[in-house]
C-alpha cells in the first residue's frame, strides 16, 4: 500500500498526477458518451467524478480500467504515456475497480472469487491474506463463505478486498453507496480515508452531492459527456455543485398538503416464503396505504423488496386471500391481471424485460397492461385505439421517441421510464405501486416522474413507493417504513423521523452484530 508521499500532505500542486487523461473521446451508436474529457488525479487524493445518470461517468471508468477502448485521447500514468488495452493491464499498472454492479460469482466462495482476480502466482496462503487485509481496513470477511449467502453490503466488501489484495495505486469506486445504510457509508469513508493517507489515489464516482462534499478533495463534473467544471467540493455548496452538474438549479417537485382518505391497500400479516434459494422470506408484513397519501418503503436491496413487490403486484399469489386487500376486495389469491381490474397499477424496477418488452413497439407495450374494453373487443385487438393510447401517453409525458411504433429498446432509460409511468397512470388506477421509479433516470425525467406521483396523490390515489434512494423517499413521501430481512417497520410520518433512525432500521436495528450490519 505504501507510496512515497508524506501522510496528510499527499495533495500538493507540485506532485506529478498519478493519472492524467487528455481528450478522451468515446462514441456509442446515437450518443457521444465521452467528449474530449480531461482529468487529473494526484497521488493520495480522493477525487470525485460527478454527474447525473447518463453523463458519461461509467464509460470513462471503463476506459480507465481497460474494459473499453477510447476512440481518441491519451492517458499518462505517473508521467509516462500508457495504453490500457485490458483489465489485466490496468491491474498490472496498479489500478483497481470496485464495480457498481458487482462482478462476483455467487456459487463460489469468497476465496475462489478473489483467486480468480489475482494471478496464479499469488495463490498460496490466500485465505490468510484475505483475513489480514480485511482486518486491517475494517472490512470483516470469512474466506470460506459462499457469496450467495452474503448481504449486498458484505458482497461489496469482497469486491473491495479483492482490489486491495493487489496493492492498488489507484482505486476506482463506482457509485459505492447506493447499496449501503447511512452508518455503513460512514465506515466506508473511514476505510477510504485510510487508503488515501497511505498514498492510494481514489476516483469516487457518484451523483450524491452531500457525500462528495464530505469525502472528496477535488471534483471533476461531467455533463453530457463533457467536463463542465473542476472544483474543491469542500468549498462548494450542494446548490453550486448541482448547477455545474445539470446546468441549472436542482428542481424540486411542488408539494401540497396531504389529505389522506380511506385505506385503499391493506397488507395484513403477510408471510411469503422465498422460492429462490438466494431470496428473502417475508415475515408478518403489515401496512396500510390510504387514498391520497404516498407511503414509502426504504431499505437496502436484498431485504425482501423483490418478494414483497411480486406478492403485491400479483406476479406471485399468496395463500391467504385477505392478506392483501385492494379497495375493499381480498386480492391475495388473484393474479396480476385481476388485480389491475380492481384498480391496481404497478411500475416495476426493471424497465426492459419486465415493464416493457424490448423488441416490441411502444404501442404493443401499451397493450401489455391495458387490455380492457377500450382496446380489446371480443378477444380481438383494436389496433387503432391501441396506437392512439400510446400516442397520447407519449405526448402527455413528453417522451422523446419517434412515435408509437418505436421499439421500446430504442428509447433512453429516462424516456422509457416516463412512458411506463404514463401508461400506468393512464389507467386511472386507485392504487399505484412504484419500485425504484427514478433509478438510472436523468434529473429532468426524475423530477417529472416524482411530480407525477405527487399529482396522482393529490387526485386521491393511494401511492406506494419502494426505493433504495432515501433522499427521494424523504422528498416525496408522507409516511415512511423500512424493510429489513423480510420484516417491515411501522410507517411513520416523514416529519417525525430522521435519516439516522431510518439507517438504524435498515440495518436491522442491531448495529453491533456483524451478520446484520450491512
Amino acid at each position: 500500500m505504501a507510496d512515497s508521499s508524506p501522510a496528510g500532505s499527499a495533495v500538493t500542486a507540485a506532485a506529478v498526477p498519478r493519472l492524467a487523461l487528455r481528450g478522451i473521446t468515446r462514441r456509442y451508436p446515437g450518443v457521444l458518451a465521452n467528449d474530449h474529457v480531461d482529468l487529473d488525479v494526484l497521488p493520495g487524493e480522493i477525487h470525485a467524478v460527478l454527474g447525473e445518470n447518463g453523463a458519461g461517468k461509467s464509460t470513462l471508468m471503463k476506459v480507465i480500467y481497460g474494459i473499453v477502448k477510447p476512440d481518441a485521447g491519451t492517458m499518462r500514468w505517473e508521467g509516462a504515456p500508457v495504453r490500457i488495452g485490458s483489465p489485466a493491464r490496468a491491474r498490472k499498472l496498479g489500478i483497481g475497480m470496485v464495480f457498481q454492479h458487482f462482478s462476483l460469482f455467487e456459487t463460489l466462495t469468497v476465496a475462489d472469487n478473489i483467486r480468480l482476480a489475482l494471478d496464479a502466482a499469488s495463490a498460496p496462503g490466500l485465505p490468510q491474506r484475505i483475513r489480514d487485509v480485511s482486518a486491517r481496513y475494517g472490512l470483516t470477511l470469512d474466506p470460506a463463505r459462499h457469496v450467495h449467502t452474503m448481504s449486498v453490503g458484505e458482497r461489496q466488501r469482497v469486491e473491495i478486498v479483492r482490489c486491495l489484495l493487489q496493492s492498488p495505486r489507484l482505486l476506482i469506486m463506482d457509485e459505492p453507496t447506493s447499496v449501503l445504510t447511512p452508518q455503513a457509508v460512514l465506515r466506508l469513508f473511514d476505510t477510504l480515508r485510510t487508503l488515501a493517507r497511505e498514498g492510494c489515489s481514489i476516483l469516487y464516482i457518484s451523483h450524491k452531492l452531500d457525500e462528495i462534499r464530505a469525502l472528496c478533495q477535488r471534483a471533476t463534473v461531467l455533463r453530457a459527456g463533457r467536463v463542465t467544471g473542476e472544483c474543491d467540493p469542500r468549498q462548494e455548496t450542494s446548490a453550486s455543485l448541482a448547477r455545474m452538474m445539470i446546468g441549472g438549479e436542482l428542481p424540486h417537485p411542488v408539494h401540497r398538503e396531504a389529505h389522506a382518505g380511506a385505506p385503499a391497500l391493506t397488507v395484513d400479516s403477510l408471510d411469503v416464503r422465498a422460492d429462490d434459494p438466494f431470496g428473502t422470506t417475508l415475515r408478518s408484513i403489515s401496512l396500510e396505504v390510504h387514498a391520497g397519501e404516498i407511503v414509502g418503503i426504504a431499505g437496502v436491496s436484498g431485504n425482501g423488496q423483490k418478494e414483497l413487490l411480486a406478492a403485491l403486484s400479483g406476479e406471485r399469489r399468496v395463500a391467504r386471500a385477505d392478506a392483501i386487500v385492494l379497495c375493499g376486495t381480498p386480492a391475495g389469491t388473484l393474479d396480476a391481471f385481476a388485480r389491475r381490474r380492481l384498480g391496481l397499477a404497478f411500475i416495476p424496477e426493471e424497465r426492459l424485460g419486465r415493464g416493457a418488452v424490448p423488441e416490441m413497439s411502444l404501442a404493443d407495450n401499451a397493450l401489455l397492461t391495458a387490455r380492457g374494453a377500450a382496446l380489446v373487443s371480443h378477444g380481438f385487438i383494436r389496433a387503432k385505439a391501441v396506437r392512439a393510447y400510446a400516442a397520447q401517453t407519449i405526448a402527455a409525458f413528453g417522451v422523446r421517441a419517434s412515435g408509437p411504433d418505436a421499439a421500446a429498446r430504442s428509447l433512453s432509460g429516462g424516456n422509457l421510464q416516463k412512458y411506463i409511468v404514463g401508461r400506468e397512470i393512464g389507467h386511472h388506477p386507485k392504487v399505484l405501486i412504484a419500485a425504484q421509479p427514478t433509478w438510472g433516470v436523468d434529473v429532468g425525467a426524475s423530477v417529472q416522474i416524482r411530480q407525477a406521483l405527487i399529482d396522482l396523490r393529490d387526485r386521491g390515489v393511494a401511492v406506494l413507493v419502494i426505493s433504495e434512494e432515501l433522499d427521494e423517499l424523504i422528498e416525496i413521501c408522507d409516511r415512511l417504513a423500512v424493510i429489513a430481512q423480510g420484516r417491515l417497520s411501522p410507517a411513520k410520518p416523514v416529519r417525525e423521523t430522521s435519516a439516522e433512525e431510518i439507517g438504524l432500521l435498515m440495518a436491522g436495528a442491531v448495529p453491533t452484530s456483524d451478520r446484520v450490519v450491512a
Partner: protein, 305 residues
C-alpha cells in the same frame, strides 16, 4: 458368476457412448453454452471413424478421425451461436439435423461394408480369472478411455484453476469479462472439446460396439446424453451413474428377449426413451436443485460489451 461378469461388461459397453457424449456436453454447459447438436456430432464421428477405419485398416486412426470430424462440426456451431450471436437452441438443432443428413449422405456407400473393429481386450491369464478377470480386465479399450476421461474431467473442474475459470464463465460471463478473462475463447475451447467427445462416442459405436455403419445408428443417444447432463445436475460422477443406468436399461431389453418374455421387440425398444422421459421429469421437479447447480448463464446469448 460368469453371467454376472458378462452383465458388467455389457452394461459398461452400452453406457460408454453416453459417457463420452455426456461428459463432453457437461464441459460445454459448464461454460454456459447449450449445444443440442450432440446427436448430429455423434453420427458425424461414427461415419467418419468408420470410413477412415475401412480405408486405412486402422480402427484407432478412425477413432481419432471421428473425434476431429465432430469437433469440426462443433466449430460451425460455435461460429454461428457464439460469434454471430444466434439463438443457441436453434443452432444446436440445426447442427443435429445437418449432422444426421450429412452422415446419411456420406455413409450411403458404406452400408454393408465390414471392418475389423476394436475388440474387448483379452490378456491371457488375467482375463481368465473368475468374475474379476472379465469384469475388470475384459472391457473394450475405449471403455477404459472413457473412464480415464471421467477422471480427467472431474480433476479439471474441481482441482485446477482453469476449471475454476470455466465454472466462473458459465456462472457470470459478464463478470468474468470484467475481470479480464477471454470468455469467447474459453467457450470456443469448451465447445470444441464437447464436439470431440461426442465424436468419440459415435466412433465407439461404429468401430467397437457394433463395427458397422447403419444410417442413424445412434438412435437418439445424443439426445439422451443431453438429458443425462440435466439428470446429473451437472456433476461428472452422476453422469457416469446415469450413463450406466441407461446401459442397464438397454441391456434389459436384450435380456428380456433372450429370456423369451413375450413382449413385442418394438415395445421393449421403447424402454430407454421412456426411461429418459421419466428421469427428466423426476429431476426437473426440484427447481431449487436445478437453480443451484445449473450454470446460471446456460443457453443465454453472451454480448461482449
Amino acid at each position: 458368476m460368469d453371467a454376472l461378469a458378462q452383465v458388467v461388461v455389457l452394461t459398461l459397453a452400452a453406457g460408454t457412448p453416453l459417457v463420452f457424449a455426456a461428459l463432453g456436453e457437461l464441459i460445454v454447459e459448464k461454460s454456459g453454452v447449450l449445444n443440442l447438436g450432440v446427436e448430429g456430432m455423434m453420427l458425424a464421428g461414427a461415419i467418419t471413424s468408420f470410413i477412415v477405419a475401412a480405408k486405412t485398416g486402422s480402427a484407432w486412426l478412425g477413432v481419432c478421425a471421428g473425434a476431429l470430424a465432430a469437433a469440426a462440426l462443433s466449430l460451425i456451431f460455435a461460429v454461428i451461436a457464439l460469434t454471430l450471436r444466434a439463438n443457441q437452441v436453434a443452432t444446436g438443432l440445426a447442427l443435429s439435423l445437418f449432422g444426421i443428413g450429412l452422415s446419411a449422405f456420406v455413409g450411403r456407400p458404406y452400408m454393408s461394408v465390414v471392418i475389423a473393429g476394436i475388440k474387448p481386450i483379452s490378456i491371457p491369464g488375467i482375463t481368465d480369472l473368475p468374475v474379476v478377470g472379465k469384469a475388470i480386465f475384459g472391457h473394450n479399450p475405449l471403455v477404459y478411455v472413457s473412464i480415464a476421461l471421467f477422471i480427467a474431467v472431474h480433476a479439471f473442474l474441481y482441482r485446477t484453476r482453469a476449471g475454476l475459470v470455466l465454472r466462473a464463465v458459465g456462472e457470470a460471463p459478464q463478470s468474468a469479462h470484467a475481470i479480464g478473462y477471454p470468455v469467447m475463447a474459453i467457450r470456443y475451447a469448451a465447445v470444441l472439446f464437447g464436439g470431440a467427445c461426442a465424436g468419440l462416442g459415435g466412433a465407439f459405436l461404429a468401430v467397437a460396439y457394433t463395427p458397422s455403419w447403419v444410417e442413424g445408428m445412434t438412435a437418439g443417444r445424443g439426445w439422451i446424453a443431453l438429458a443425462l447432463v440435466v439428470f446429473a445436475t451437472w456433476k461428472p460422477w452422476r453422469v457416469m451413474l446415469g450413463a450406466y443406468l441407461f446401459g442397464s436399461v438397454t441391456l434389459a431389453q436384450f435380456q428380456a428377449q433372450a429370456a423369451g418374455i413375450d413382449v413385442p421387440s418394438q415395445l421393449l425398444a421403447m424402454l430407454p426413451y421412456l426411461a429418459t422421459i421419466a428421469v427428466l421429469a423426476i429431476i426437473s421437479r426440484d427447481e431449487t436443485a436445478i437453480r443451484i447447480n445449473a450454470p446460471a448463464s446456460l443457453g443465454k446469448t453472451y454480448h461482449p460489451e
